[in-house]
Homo-oligomer: 331 residues x 2
């Protein structure tokens, strides 16, 4: 790890290290999230697992290794995770992330290889070995989390916290009119994860759409001279082109990095506690994530609640993100 890292307030102020168990489908914004975490003081990535989603799971694992290598994190094991969703066919998103998942920059093969253990099994093993210590940060579809919950029903009591980039509880989706992409890629697994009764924070489009990288922030990243900054800028080009085709403007949201930021510093957001369920049956709304029905239809049920991020300090987050990715402190 690099020495010149930016302080992560939550962990740093308590003098503790946030121990992250990462689950990802790396992916352009996954890569940015990993580089951001790698540059934060007081954060340790204990292990990573890949999952189908932005790209197939084996490619996601290779990309995770590529990015960890760039960040100098050569000691973080990377497991390959679920190759397909629980109850629907595989769909990937190369049109957003490029054929290689990293904006078609065709980065060299990493030196290391993925570990032999499946990602879900790795989650269960590490949670048992370090009970109450790990923050599980899931920034891809939730298939590995669903599998881990089925493998080990005690899992909810073995983790410190679960932070999920996923869902759109109080606003429209991005994969469909209602479904956010990570949930849409495996609605059944998401329903398992959201109902597991663990301390789960949902970082969905409710807040990630409040955070944009555009204008001066993009210029600052473009001017970065570190290897990490130059890599980030090069993979971003494909992502920005996708956003531009959709919004007509040169910008992007920072879905996965924001979830990483909130995993490390919960004070970045405000939250609403509610049970959240996933629509599994809809013809048009499958994958929608919704809180309780109104009181006249569905009185409080005692179901497990999750913490839905509903408002975020976007300016502070983007500043911190650029301090790492564009700053002199980049790993």
């Amino acid at each position: 790890m690099c020495e010149s890292r930016v302080n992560a307030p939550d962990a740093g102020q308590r003098g503790e290290t946030t121990r992250i168990l990462l689950d990802c489908d790396t992916g352009i914004d996954d890569a940015l999230a990993i580089l951001y975490l790698a540059g934060l003081e007081g954060v340790s990535i204990v292990a990573a697992g890949s999952v189908h989603g932005n790209v197939p799971a084996p490619l996601g694992a290779l990309n995770t290794l590529r990015v960890l290598e760039l960040a100098g994190l050569d000691d973080v094991p990377v497991a390959v995770g679920a190759a397909r969703p629980m109850a629907q066919p595989l769909q990937t998103a190369e049109f957003v992330h490029g054929e290689d998942g990293l904006g078609n920059i065709h980065w060299p093969m990493p030196r290391r290889r993925p570990s032999a253990e499946p990602a879900a099994q790795q989650i269960v093993r590490l949670a048992r070995e370090q009970p109450g210590e790990l923050v599980l940060l899931a920034i891809g579809p939730l298939t590995n989390l669903g599998l881990a919950l089925l493998l080990e029903p005690e899992l909810p009591r073995l983790l410190r916290r679960v932070v999920v980039m996923g869902g759109a509880v109080y606003r429209a989706g991005n994969a469909t009119a209602d479904a956010e992409a990570n949930v849409w890629h495996d609605p059944e697994a998401a329903e398992l994860a959201l109902g597991a009764g663990w301390p789960l924070t949902l970082v969905g489009l409710d807040v990630t759409m409040q955070v944009s990288l555009a204008g001066d922030a993009l210029a600052e990243l473009q001017a970065a001279s570190s290897a990490v900054g130059r890599f980030a800028w090069s993979i971003l080009q494909h992502y920005l082109a996708f956003y531009e085709s959709y919004y007509g403007a040169r910008m992007c949201h920072l879905h996965d990095p924001l979830a990483a930021g909130i995993a490390v510093d919960s004070s970045l957001a405000r939250y609403r506690r509610t049970p959240v369920h996933v629509e599994l049956r809809g013809e048009r709304t499958r994958g929608a994530t919704r809180g309780s029905l109104p009181w006249w239809l569905n009185p409080p049920s005692g179901e497990p609640e999750v913490e839905v991020a509903v408002e975020v300090d976007a300016e502070r987050f983007v500043r911190g993100f650029l301090d790492v990715l564009a700053g002199a402190r980049a790993p």
Copy 2:
């Protein structure tokens, strides 16, 4: 009809009469919509039909007769319509509208009785008799419209325009997190109506939630001395109490009156053209109304489009509504 009516811009400026065929589940805001229409110059209510929804269909027909009588419209025939939805059990909303549907004021029985013809059949008959003349204004569940479309496949070509209070295309619902009440009461019928290929304007929560009656506007209505104004104020008390229990403030929205206003003066709103479908299968989202999926999932299909009202001149509408309901010009 009364002579001192407020001008309805669309019709009035062209010197034409807007001939309204009304479908309603009268209900407090239905009653307000009828009184508002009755007080507009250049508007003629040709006939009305009731439908299950706020209250059972037979009570809705009696209430429609009560309100028409108060407005002096003793020549408007009222048919009883569908007593239940197409594919789900009957549910009514007395908790919003009162046991009598009119805020528990227990208004006397009307002098007239409903006609013998079912409401759906009345729609078909009048549309055939006056092809291209009638504006079908539906402010309840769409069961009668669905039945009429099944009875007469040519119906879409026989009406001038269809204006529906229903749906929530780009925002949350009010019966559930996703479903607006009129669509939720009969999703199958709504899907038939929205896909019929007739010139349909959807006045949903997208715009009706932009229009509130509160503060000075309420005070103006409270001060009204006409029989219509006093009736409107008395039925509103139950409605206001319901809203207050939900919002914690003394106010209400004007769902049905706004649809009536837009049926008469389309310049009150801005619109977006899109196909709209109803989620029929969802466990949690049944009754959601949604536009097209994003282009990467669902290229333009050539499906029938409807005109979704997305923005409304609330101030102008409320002013016109009060001119009729609270003004000296009340019928």
